[in-house]
Chain length 357, copies 2
């Protein structure tokens, strides 16, 4: 499916966006690059703002979310911005009590553990429950448009949302989550139907608010066997992506530890598949086939290495897919808190310099 | 390489061991089954003993290690025993101070962080540093021989040992470990040379003490990119396996999150490759090829499911490699602490019943 690029590009300048062109597997003047979590703790500007506001305060104040979204755009020559938000606020709208606890990460105070808990979850329209992020997208688009840099909207995928909703936070083995999935399939399917509606409608609303590309983050789906993924998760990721695709904008489908089931991830949908660093990029693309673009896949820890070692790692990624249109350079997962800023700058510049024609 | 089975089997009865036959990809009367960490916290007998002794006391007292090794053999119809030990005691012999801290897991009080730290590591012969486990193997062999159940010896692989040695415990992103690897390659190679000697010699000594199969656990190697694995780790896993193979006994090579680089894991060596549950077993075997047996790969969390759901999951694993000699049924990683014992018993019996000819 070689979709046409123009319908999704309103300002004429964006036709030449190398990021959007790569999303559509068109030839580019240089490989586009952005970094998952590119706005975040590794930047001084972000840490300064965090001394005054909590994460949720920043996310829920459109002006602050816009400001943080722009921080890495102002600091580095990135080819895309991603709206500053988090995958968890959609769960608040469903009735879950979310808190970011210092040192512990996100906590849900009333996790979903039973069919009754699932039944009581609401599915509010994103325009009501997540208006702050939609507003932040509008503000950020106004800032970005004179720079020809596209804006990415995103949502957690149904499984990853379910993981937080059911476990109540991070979890090593996801016993509650898989317990519900295998022990009460009816409740599970009810939960996943609600979550796929929430994720899909949220993505669609972000595109309607101005996001030009959407990313579905299924960060934890790699903990499933392929057969469990196919039976219990894939139909819901598919449903979320189908709703999002009503917008007409490209969808990036990202997961980690999915290298044993990339064919299923691809079949669930997405124009661009994001892969982690645990597979050679050309091997991943060989499995995924010609009908998708690919995003990745530097080990985030490589950014802590001396520049020469980092450069070699970046070259290996770029060389492995050289000359094939449709590669978006990124990390294999989010950038880490203490990443040296100098290396980020050199990385972004090097990707352009090394691949420019 | 279709190796001959007989030289490694001293008691005649063991020629009919379905576990050993499967290791050599010979036809079996039923699929053999054992479970990683089969002696452990999910068993009442083990928890009772742990009220009186620490983990290290059990490991270092051959009679207790033998007793714990035998607990699951007495409780279930398992096809192999694995000596009760841990992957970390070899680091003590090298000069590292190991402690198991309640609730936190293993801690190394003097982690390896520099070239000087690496230089000061000793490589003592296992007969000196790990005599307790070698003695436990001798005692356990005496117990097992009248039951025709083979005994597995094991070691952590160089990378996984390095991870604990350098990080000083568990670690999410392994910044210190990869920092040493990418920042000081000379120190890294020195460290990995020492660790491959330690692991290889330890495995060889276990075979000489009576272990009939050896397993190399590279639990954390899946955090590496394939290119980093090939350059910084593979030669050392290869070296450890080559030393172990001097014994003539089959070697199982196990890792998790390695599904993007199974070809490299195979090329590093091993007669049997252990895979996690994140890939269909037949897909893994397709990548691995005909010259190795395969071990795996049920999601350990499936053991918490109601029996019907668990049974379906076991059937999927067994059906996917039906009729192909060389499958050893196991979990995709170690059995978890609160696993229901009834499900373990039913699982083991069902594997035999469902596959018996």
């Amino acid at each position: 499916m070689q979709t046409d690029i123009e319908p999704t590009l309103t300002p004429d300048t964006l036709v030449n966006s190398r990021f959007l062109r790569a999303c559509h597997r068109r030839p580019v003047d240089a490989t586009p690059v952005w970094l998952m979590r590119q706005a975040g703790r590794y930047m001084t500007e972000y840490r300064e703002l965090r001394e005054k506001y909590t994460i949720l305060e920043i996310i829920k104040t459109p002006e602050l979310a816009c400001e943080v979204t722009m921080q890495p755009i102002n600091a580095f020559d990135l080819d895309a911005a991603i709206i500053f938000a988090d995958i968890l606020p959609p769960l608040e709208g469903m009735g879950l009590e979310l808190e970011f606890v210092k040192g512990e990460g996100p906590i849900i105070h009333n996790p979903v553990r039973s069919a009754a808990d699932v039944n009581s979850l609401r599915v509010p329209p994103p325009q009501e429950a997540l208006s702050f992020t939609l507003e932040a997208i509008k503000l950020t688009r106004a800032e970005l448009d004179n720079r020809s840099i596209p804006l990415i909207g995103f949502s957690g995928a149904p499984f990853t949302l379910a993981s937080y909703a059911v476990e109540g936070g991070s979890s090593k083995n996801r016993l509650h989550l898989k317990g519900l999935m295998l022990g009460d399939p009816a409740a599970w399917h009810n939960l996943m139907t609600k979550l796929s509606d929430v994720a899909g409608q949220y993505l669609l609303a972000q595109a309607q608010a101005g996001a030009q590309v959407l990313q579905l983050f299924d960060s934890w789906v790699g903990d499933l066997s392929p057969d469990d993924y196919r039976q219990f998760v894939m139909p819901y990721s598919q449903r979320a992506i189908e709703i999002a695709k009503q917008s007409g904008v490209p969808v990036i489908h990202f997961g980690t530890n999915t290298n044993g089931m990339l064919d299923l991830i691809r079949d669930a949908g997405g124009d661009i598949i994001g892969v982690d660093w645990r597979i050679r990029l050309q091997d991943a693309w060989h499995i995924l086939g010609d009908n998708v673009a690919i995003q990745g896949n530097l080990d985030p820890v490589a950014l802590f290495a001396p520049w020469d070692a980092l450069k070699e790692h970046v070259q290996l990624v770029l060389d492995s897919v050289k000359g094939r249109p449709g590669h978006i350079f990124n990390l294999g997962h989010g950038i880490l808190p203490n990443t040296p800023v100098d290396n980020v700058k050199r990385l972004v510049d090097f990707v352009h310099e090394y691949t420019s024609k």
